[in-house]
């Protein structure tokens, strides 16, 4: 019975992801309007036949922007998460493997990275960028920065996890049997670290989607007129502080729900170790 439920959930997740990816990649054909098109006679419209999720404050079709925004968020947020987790695996793994000196050095580097005022660095990055950088390049740079800056916290988790594996009985047994470090690494450490890395990866994806939205305040991130799920989420801010019933403009929650279900589906579909 339980297995059936899991299978059903996985099937649903697969279907949701398939729809999401297809609609995002095919946004050019599926979206009723170009994402930057301003219907100036209809700003802030509620959902209607013409505008399924209404229009934003510039009169742009929110549904079209949600589809187009998926391209950026679905492709670049996981890419940034992958970059961050790869860096974390490298640093965390080396810290666990490399003996006391290397561990001290890398732990120090991790602590330093976590304590640095990244806001100032990001402001510096924006100042160094040319002003007429195109929106796609700006997006690429933003997610690369997010990926490169996001390794420190996962690195600590990876280091602890790898250290735990190295001191486990089965690694001890493998060493006693004379297995080489490379073989131990490939046969025992990497497979057992995968759940940790996967958990870090999936938890990083929504964080990066939201971080991208906040970077807009520094002039980084997805610039107008390109949409992203992160920028669409910023609309919720005024809704939540308006003092009106939270669900008065329920359609503004669409991007939040899409992100939530996308992340849940990814977790359900891919690494079964995380769920267990």
């Amino acid at each position: 019975m339980r297995r059936l439920a899991v299978r059903g959930a996985r099937g649903l997740a697969w279907a949701f992801l398939a729809v999401l990816f297809i609609s995002s990649l095919g946004a050019g054909w599926l979206a009723p309007a170009p994402p930057e098109k301003q219907f100036r006679e209809a700003p802030n419209s509620p959902p209607s036949r013409a505008f399924l999720l209404g229009t934003d404050d510039l009169g742009r079709d929110r549904f079209s922007r949600l589809l187009h925004g998926g391209r950026i968020s679905l492709l670049l947020a996981p890419s940034a998460a992958l970059l961050a987790v790869a860096c974390a695996a490298l640093v965390g793994g080396m810290a666990a493997f490399g003996g006391r000196r290397v561990a001290g050095l890398l732990t120090g580097a991790t602590d330093l990275t976590l304590s640095l005022p990244w806001l100032l660095l990001l402001i510096g990055v924006r100042a160094a960028l040319p002003l007429d950088v195109s929106p796609p390049v700006s997006v690429g740079i933003t997610f690369a920065i997010l990926g490169l800056l996001g390794w420190a916290a996962p690195a600590r988790v990876v280091q602890t996890g790898v250290a735990g594996i190295l001191s486990s009985n089965y690694v001890l047994a493998a060493r006693c049997r004379g297995l080489s470090w490379t073989r131990i690494m490939v046969r025992h450490v990497l497979p057992n670290t995968r759940p940790v890395l996967a958990a870090q990866f999936w938890s990083s994806v929504p964080v990066f989607i939201l971080a991208e939205a906040n970077l807009g305040l520094l002039g980084l991130g997805v610039t107008e007129p390109m949409p992203s799920w992160g920028t669409l989420l910023r609309e919720l801010e005024s809704c939540l502080t308006s003092g009106q019933p939270v669900l008065a403009q329920y359609w503004l929650f669409a991007p939040a729900l899409v992100i939530l279900f996308a992340v849940l589906s990814l977790v359900v579909v891919f690494p079964s170790e995380v769920n267990s």
């Binding site: 930057e36 301003q38 100036r40 700003p43 404050d57 510039l58 009169g59 402001i123 924006r126 100042a127 002003l131 007429d132 950088v133 195109s134 929106p135 807009g216 305040l217 520094l218 002039g219 610039t223 107008e224 007129p225 005024s238 502080t241 308006s242 003092g243 009106q244």
Partner: protein, 544 residues
């Protein structure tokens, strides 16, 4: 008299007895409002930021006060004044029987002491700036206890209105002694500022009751405007100044009596192109930006009515020149904002040698016309305006990339490195007189933003503006000054060094519990008549 008539007469008499008493302001009560930043200085002569200027207005006594409602100068601590020698000599007769909050008498000695401090280079008072531009500066000499003579090295047009910013200080050395309606009682950094009634304030109302009516004003530091509005709705604050259009509309729906749109303010939003030769711009871009036809075509392509309607939700007025229609005397009513016509803009560009190829506008050299616009990140209104302008200009083949950035980086670019194409920013004006705009319009001025601090005017029209601004500064006749400044406004509209987009409306909220509230567009919008504000009795509030 019938029974019915007797009852009616009794009811009338009862109302007649109650109503006058109810309508009359009663002293007492504390007014609460929020300020978004800490006052940088409580010394009135050092006030340069909005909270400090507000404190100065509420605590300081001045010789002459600008009536924010009529926009006319009114006698305050000076009962009358006269000018002689073509405006180089001014004589002020002081009000008698006035005392500072510490009880010491106010005299001519205090006025001269204040002017001495204003002109002291060690203090570097912002109030001294207009006087420093005058050769020979300003000298003050007392004439007895109740009159002073001010001498200027050369005429300074509209000098009396500068006195609205100079709060008189005591020559006895007590820096806390004030002549305004309130005194600073408590200042907790990061929390609040409490002003209490100056019991020695000289003004009385028509009934002879000593002003101010309020016991005190509590200004709480509240940076978040959403929370400020929330507190206003809960009745924890009585006044809100400078509301954002979105918040204003929200309040208007919930409490229509409290929200007030006062119409266009003096504050403008404008776009300008970098024309400074010090900027690292490629030659073809410099050629576009220094072309009057190009700037005007861009101006003509922008649909200002959409900016006002969509970005400001109708709480803004399309702009055309440096002076808002709110400035009753100096506004040039002959100027009309462009309607936003891409065809007209393209025709002008064609005359200047540009051509539209497909969806791309190209200059004579075949370069595609594209530029970036910087603005301060986080300012929603400007980001939205930039997005609308982006689409308007795309219609005439111009590709605009938006580069919002943090404010210090933006200031660095527009004042030091000049590494930018175009900038979208606003200007806040508090001075009605064009003398307050000298640093903007003189080509040598630091705020001549498109090409500041020129050694000699780069263009003929800038040379003409220089001549006109200097001429009006030396002209005592107000009508002749107006003619000169009208021409300046016309040149600015024709040459579009600043492309004026909109004048923001002044949006405020005043609690129905506050009596005598008469918000105006000039700062301090809701507190200009603070000495006459009063808290209504609960019964009076419910009657409304």
């Amino acid at each position: 008299m019938s029974f019915r008539a007797r009852v009616a007469a009794a009811v009338f008499l009862a109302f007649a007895a109650v109503l006058p008493a109810a309508a009359q302001p009663a002293p007492g009560g504390q007014l609460r409002l929020a300020i978004q930043a800490e006052p940088k200085s409580l010394d009135p002569l050092l006030a340069a930021d909005e909270p400090s200027e507000l404190v100065r207005h509420l605590t300081g006594g001045v010789l002459v006060r600008l009536n924010r409602q009529t926009q006319a100068l009114e006698p305050e601590l000076a009962v009358k004044w006269s000018a002689a020698a073509a405006g180089r000599k001014l004589r002020f007769e002081l009000r008698q029987g006035v005392t500072f909050s510490d009880g010491s008498p106010f005299s001519a000695r205090d006025v001269c002491h204040t002017f001495q401090r204003v002109m002291d280079p060690k203090i570097d008072s912002p109030a001294s700036e207009p006087f420093r531009s005058v050769k020979g500066g300003i000298a003050c000499s007392p004439d007895g206890n109740h009159a002073v003579n001010l001498s200027l090295g050369e005429p300074l047009a509209g000098v009396e209105r500068l006195l609205d910013d100079i709060a008189m200080q005591s020559a006895s050395g007590n820096a806390r002694a004030v002549l305004g309606p309130f005194t600073v009682a408590e200042h907790r950094a990061g929390s609040h500022l409490l002003l209490t009634r100056n019991t020695n304030y000289w003004k009385k109302d028509e009934r002879g009751v000593r002003l101010p009516y309020l016991d005190g004003i509590r200004m709480e530091l509240q940076r978040n405007r959403e929370f400020e509005l929330m507190r206003f709705r809960r009745g924890e604050l009585e006044l809100v100044n400078n509301l954002e259009p979105e918040l204003f509309d929200r309040l208007k729906r919930e409490a229509p009596a409290a929200a007030r749109d006062l119409g266009p303010s003096l504050d403008s939003e404008q776009l300008w192109f970098n024309q400074s030769p010090r900027g690292p711009l490629p030659a073809h871009k410099r050629a576009w930006f220094t072309s009057g036809e190009f700037r005007r075509a861009v101006s003509e392509a922008i649909r200002r009515a959409d900016l006002a309607r969509i970005v400001y939700r109708g709480h803004a007025t399309p702009g055309v020149g440096p002076t808002s229609p709110a400035n009753q005397f100096w506004f040039n009513a002959a100027l009309k904002p462009p309607a936003g016509d891409p065809k007209e803009a393209l025709a002008r560009l064609a005359r200047a040698g540009f051509r539209l190829e497909g969806k791309v506008l190209r200059d004579r050299g075949g370069n595609p016309v594209e530029f970036s616009v910087i603005t301060n990140a986080g300012n929603k209104s400007r980001e939205r305006m930039a997005a609308l302008i982006q689409q308007d200009l795309a219609e005439i083949g111009i590709r605009v990339s938006l580069a919002p950035m943090d404010f210090p980086s933006l200031i660095e670019r527009i004042t030091r490195t000049f590494d930018y194409d175009a900038c979208l920013l606003g200007l806040i004006f508090s001075d009605l007189d064009p003398m307050g705009q000298m640093s903007i319009w003189l080509s040598s001025g630091p705020q001549h933003q498109w090409n500041p601090e020129q050694k000699a005017p780069a263009t003929e029209w800038e040379a003409e503006i220089d001549r006109l601004m200097r001429a009006q500064a030396a002209e005592p006749d107000r009508q002749k000054r107006k003619q000169a400044f009208d021409r300046v406004q016309q040149i600015v509209a024709e040459q579009a060094p600043f492309i004026y987009l909109v004048y923001r409306n002044a949006l405020v909220a005043a609690s129905p519990a506050l009596g005598n509230a008469a918000p105006v567009i000039l700062r301090p919008q809701t507190l200009w008549n603070a000495d006459r504000l009063y808290m209504k009795a609960p019964a009076q509030v419910s009657q409304r």
